[in-house]
């Protein structure tokens, strides 16, 4: 279970301060599939990075599986990322000079698993994403959809509790996007919590619920629409 209480993240450069995430409160239950939508620059990626312990935050509290993870040291955060969290990105982020097998191997190496167990897990996850025959291909030899499935295999090989996906289908055509989404849905049905950022309402509909992020805040969309309308009205009159 993921619980964020009034979490804020401010990016400071010498020119500007950006409230990327502002007073964000959210609970995601185990096994949920949550879609996150919102306009560009609204703080979706920042929220995922905080959720994935890749980014520190200034205010608020964050409990992951009942453990307070605000201000934990690098070793602990790295171990939690390695064991509990899987990441998928819009641009795949595969390591170009490692073949498919070695890409999936990376998190397992950092977990310190033995050669046999690593091999078994890699083979099993590659089969699960339908790429067992491509183990020795390099990312550049694969289509976008295949690359994203390798990335999913890499995220899954470590058996994470939570899958964090940042626009996983953003770079794919609709057929490939559908295949990838089917896969993510399968993974969720097998018990993994999924939080997925997407712009596409079509895709968001597959989730159990959608949260809207606006200006760094989780927003009740209906209330927002109503308020915008009121503001527009007031401006008109």
């Amino acid at each position: 279970m993921l619980e964020m209480q009034s979490v804020s993240k401010i990016y400071r450069t010498h020119l500007v301060e950006t409230h990327a995430v502002r007073d964000l409160t959210l609970t995601v239950e185990d096994g949920e599939f949550v879609a996150v939508s919102g306009p560009s620059g609204s703080g979706k990626t920042t929220f995922l990075n905080i959720a994935g312990l890749l980014e520190a935050f200034e205010e608020g509290s964050y409990r992951l599986d009942g453990v307070d993870v605000s201000g934990i040291d690098d070793d602990t955060a790295s171990r939690i990322r390695n064991e509990k969290i899987g990441f998928i990105f819009q641009s795949f982020n595969l390591i170009p000079d490692l073949d498919v097998f070695d890409n999936v191997d990376v998190p397992l190496r950092y977990r310190g698993l033995g050669a046999r167990e690593r091999r078994e897990r890699i083979t099993a996850t590659l089969e699960r994403v339908g790429l067992a025959s491509r183990a020795n291909h390099y990312p550049s030899q694969l289509s976008g959809g295949q690359q994203q499935r390798v990335a999913i295999a890499r995220a899954l090989a470590g058996d994470p509790r939570i899958l964090l996906a940042d626009e996983p289908t953003g770079n794919l055509d609709s057929l490939m996007a559908r295949q990838v989404l089917d896969l993510i849905q399968d993974i969720n049905e097998a018990g993994t919590t999924v939080i997925m950022v997407t712009h596409d309402p079509e895709l968001a509909r597959r989730a159990h619920r959608t949260i809207h992020v606006l200006d760094g805040r989780v927003t009740n969309l209906d209330a927002w629409v109503a308020r915008e309308a009121m503001v527009a009205q007031a401006a008109d009159s």
């Binding site: 890749l54 790295s78 990441f87 990105f89 819009q90 890499r154």
Partner: protein, 436 residues
């Protein structure tokens, strides 16, 4: 994990072959220059007789008038007069003592078909051999009685015995040198102290002499000094060899072995006693700075076997290495921050900062090993070059111990240069460098 780091490092190095080559070349150049100078320095300054060098001492006596000295400073000359060297041998203050000098000899091999050849011999006293731990293959040194009685006996070096007698046990046989014939009493095992500390005047990097004969034969054979300087503050009393032997010219080496280094002061005062007795004969006009007793390494340092130029050169070489390393730091900063994307991905997948740091340091150590290999090749070339410039063969070959030093120095330098870039790389904020 280390194996994984190693594989990852090799991949990373292969990704930018040019940068990798330049880093290795830069380290290699620095190491090569350092190892070249370090080799010459190390081989020139090594201890030729480590087991005893702290209790084997040279005696230096100042028989010059006040205000004059052949050494440049005011220290006593590095060698003694024949009479003082013989006098101190006779006194026998120390456990062992020996006087001696180097001479040229023409050997006439037994085999008539072989041509006579010119070589170096040494006139010395019999304790030379036990004092310097010289091992005998056959026979033994001549005795004190034979020395006193001016017997025509000789000890041959292993090389001479090979050349003259084909390596057989030649004890009891005759060897002809110049116009004399000597009975062989002993044959040495191969022996080549470097530097040839017991006679640096005749050359610290020369071969060991081939034939050793009693010093007491000097007046008989009129054996002139071979290599090395002779300094005199006054003309000898006449042209004869005996007159030269009785003169105040200094040209004979004298060494003594003490039972322990702690005996040095006591020994010094005994020698001072000898000098006092000589004053009765009107010798040793000065009172200050007359007797100097020095152990082997101090004597060699004073003599300047390792000159100051070598030290300056060594300093410059290490400065050059430092300049190379500063460049390597720059190159590695470039290299390690070149693709932060991969580092960010690895962080997201669970690599700790420490893990990335360790992986980078493995990479740097590999660069260091490459640098060591190239550096040794450069050093070999450098030493070759020095030999063509008349640097002695003996001090310009790569020693196995120094090769290890080269590897250690290179890997150590690489780690030093790589530490900061690797640390920087391990601390990139992953969220900023993940492509979303």
């Amino acid at each position: 994990m280390w194996r994984y780091h190693f594989q990852t490092a090799l991949k990373s190095l292969r990704r930018n072959p040019w940068l990798t080559s330049i880093v290795i070349a830069t380290i290699g150049l620095g190491i090569g220059v350092c190892m070249t100078t370090l080799t010459v320095y190390y081989l020139s300054s090594r201890d030729p007789i480590p087991a005893k060098s702290d209790r084997i001492v040279a005696v230096r006596l100042h028989n010059w008038p006040v205000g004059e000295s052949p050494t440049g400073g005011d220290d006593p000359p590095f060698e003694l007069t024949y009479r003082d060297a013989q006098g101190l041998v006779e006194q026998g203050f120390a456990k062992h003592q020996a006087a001696g000098y180097n001479t040229d000899l023409v050997i006439h091999p037994e085999d008539e078909k072989q041509r006579p050849y010119l070589t170096e011999g040494r006139l010395t006293t019999p304790e030379f051999f036990p004092m310097f731990d010289v091992d005998f293959a056959y026979g033994a040194p001549w005795t004190k009685e034979q020395e006193r009685d001016r017997r025509m006996v000789a000890v041959l070096s292993s090389e001479a015995n090979d050349k003259i007698f084909g390596g057989e046990n030649s004890v009891g046989r005759q060897v002809r040198a110049d116009d004399s014939s000597f009975t062989v009493v002993g044959v040495l095992k191969p022996w080549k102290p470097l530097p040839r500390f017991y006679d640096v005047n005749a050359g610290a990097w020369e071969e060991t002499e081939e034939v050793f004969i009693p010093l007491s034969l000097s007046p008989v054979l009129e054996a002139r000094k071979g290599d090395g300087n002779t300094s005199c503050f006054a003309e000898a009393d006449g042209d004869t060899w005996q007159a030269f032997l009785d003169s105040e010219c200094v040209w004979v080496q004298f060494w003594a072995e003490l039972t322990s280094p702690a005996d040095l002061d006591q020994y010094q005062s005994m020698v001072e006693g000898y000098v006092a007795s000589q004053r009765d004969l009107g010798r040793f006009p000065r009172t200050e700075n007359v007797v100097l007793v020095q152990d082997v390494m101090t004597y060699l340092r004073d003599f300047g076997v390792v000159d100051d130029d070598a030290r300056v050169l060594l300093g410059l070489a290490f400065l050059f290495l430092a300049v190379c390393l500063v460049n390597v730091v720059g190159l590695l900063l470039d290299k390690f921050l070149l693709n932060p994307g991969e580092l960010a991905v690895r962080r997201a997948l669970g690599a700790r900062r420490k893990t990335l740091l360790a992986q980078r340091l493995v990479e740097v150590a590999i660069l260091g090993l490459g640098g060591a290999a190239l550096g040794l090749a450069f050093a070999l070339a450098g030493l070759q070059l020095l030999r063509t410039m008349n640097v002695e063969e003996e001090v310009s070959h790569l020693d196995p111990k120094l090769m290890l030093v080269a590897v250690g120095l290179s890997v150590g330098s690489a780690l030093l240069a790589g530490l900061y870039p690797a640390w920087r790389g391990s601390r990139i904020p992953p969220a900023r460098y993940l492509r979303t």
